[in-house]
Amino acid sequence: MTPMSPASGPKLVLEGVHKAFGELAVLTGVDLAVTEHQVVSLIGASGSGKSTLLRCVNLLEAIDDGRILLDGDEISEPGRPADPVRRRIGIVFQSFNLFPHLSVLDNVTLAPHRVLGRPRREARAAALELLGRFGLADKAGDYPDRLSGGQQQRVAIVRALAMDPELMLLDEITSALDPELVGEVLAIVRELKDQGMTMLLATHEMAFAREISDVVVFLDEGRVVEQGPPSRLFADPSEERTRRFLARIVEGGRLG
């Protein structure tokens, strides 16, 4: 991966993003920036807006106010076609969301073939190579129901990677997994970081967030309360709310 040139701006910027579902305000003015090759983790209690934030970035939810910029380009403009933007951003969901009627290989090749217009044979070859890299080569012909949760989530990551995304959004991708399957999925995220992938992830795995993140962002009540490098944020948070949240996590035994 080529190192980022100092002149280039952040990959992703959120400015004063608001989002409400009816009466329920979920995001109440989020400001955030993700630089290229950076891994940024969103932490916070359930309902703090982490997932909604990721869905807004991928334009699965329309924001009510504020701006979202990808490479300095405002993608959240109302009426702007979402499909070209989504092609550039990969998202992996908590519940995998593989297509149950398609084999693993077809899950991975569907979008490269249909959206990017790659010839089927080419898309298959690329998919098999990717699956092989993540230890899933022998699962290519299987249907999702036959796979373990960890395998399914790895396929979902491969499916997103097959589109050559510039940015990956990971939405609590280990929360639906049995504890012994979490490791294999996190190993892939580590590998992606080593390759320089820009990632914005929501997680409850505090130890993992501490290990992998360049920046950790603490969200509370739909707003960024505090952010900083994990070494500082976990050890010496400056905000009282962050401190209380981390204290609850430690009591719960989630901070390794």
Binding site: L60, R86, G90, S95, L98, L110, R114, V115, D145
Partner: protein, 258 residues
């Protein structure tokens, strides 16, 4: 085992009790006459071809029309609102109208307009009426299937950059149609029997043929022959349904909803 035993007991009881009824001999003669049956069967069988042609053609067309109606009704685009409203009215109105009325309207009404270049062929109008009358029911089956696909499947497809049409075509409809195969074929079994309504327009189908024999012989057994022939076509369809479902479940291990 227990099921087989209780079934056998019921069958034996009926077989023993019914013939004891005072009127049984005359009923047996009028409805279950061996000679009348053997005489009617070849004639009724010869007429079933018309039914088969009608329901096969009607079913093929209904698959297309009802899927189209279901897709329109499931659409969310504000642009399609007028179309959605029109189709919704069609579904609600036609479902409330007796099929025989639709059949008369198409079979006698349209030809009576004496439009230039429009066929008067009664079989054609019978098929048109069946398509028109059955599409609302079958479209509701498809619509239920489409609605049963979880929103997260759509989100996953859209997030990969698939358009709403591609999402429908490659993700939603393949799953939806597989889920609705049993109720869909259920409607088709009903349609196969309703193909007999064509007789009201004139063409002689299996049911009409048996009716003709009955009116000349004063014996109802030909109806039995017609029934058995209709059953001979619906049972294989039911078996095909079961086989399709079993194959689907083998392929994906389970039909689990996710």
């Amino acid at each position: 085992m227990l099921a087989a035993a209780s079934t056998a007991a019921v069958v034996v009881a009926i077989a023993m009790l019914v013939p004891r009824a005072a009127g049984w001999p005359s009923v047996e003669e009028r409805f279950f006459s061996r000679e009348a049956f053997l005489e009617a069967l070849p004639q009724v069988w010869a007429a079933i071809g018309l039914n088969v042609r009608i329901f096969l053609i009607a079913e093929a067309i209904i698959l297309v029309t009802s899927l189209t109606v279901a897709v329109i009704r499931s659409s969310r685009s504000p642009l399609l609102f007028p179309l959605r409203a029109a189709v919704t009215v069609y579904v609600h109105v036609v479902r409330g109208v007796p099929l025989i009325l639709v059949l008369f309207l198409f079979g006698f009404g349209v030809p009576a307009l004496r439009l230039e270049g429009v066929t008067n062929d009664q079989t054609f109008w019978a098929i048109a009426a069946l398509v028109f009358g059955y599409t609302p029911y079958v479209s509701e089956v498809f619509r239920a299937g489409i609605a049963s696909i979880h929103e997260s499947q759509r989100a996953a497809a859209r997030s990969l950059g698939l358009s709403s049409w591609q999402t429908l075509r490659f993700v939603v409809l393949p799953q939806a149609t597989r889920r609705v195969i049993p109720p869909l074929l259920n409607d088709f079994v009903a349609l196969q029997k309703d193909s007999a309504l064509v007789a009201f327009l004139g063409p002689i189908d299996a049911f009409r043929r048996s009716q003709i024999i009955v009116s000349s012989s004063f014996n109802y057994t030909p109806y039995l022959a017609a029934s058995l022939i209709f059953i001979a076509f619906t049972v294989p369809l039911a078996l095909l349904t079961d086989w399709l479902i079993a194959r689907q479940q083998r392929r994906t291990t389970s039909g689990a909803v996710r």
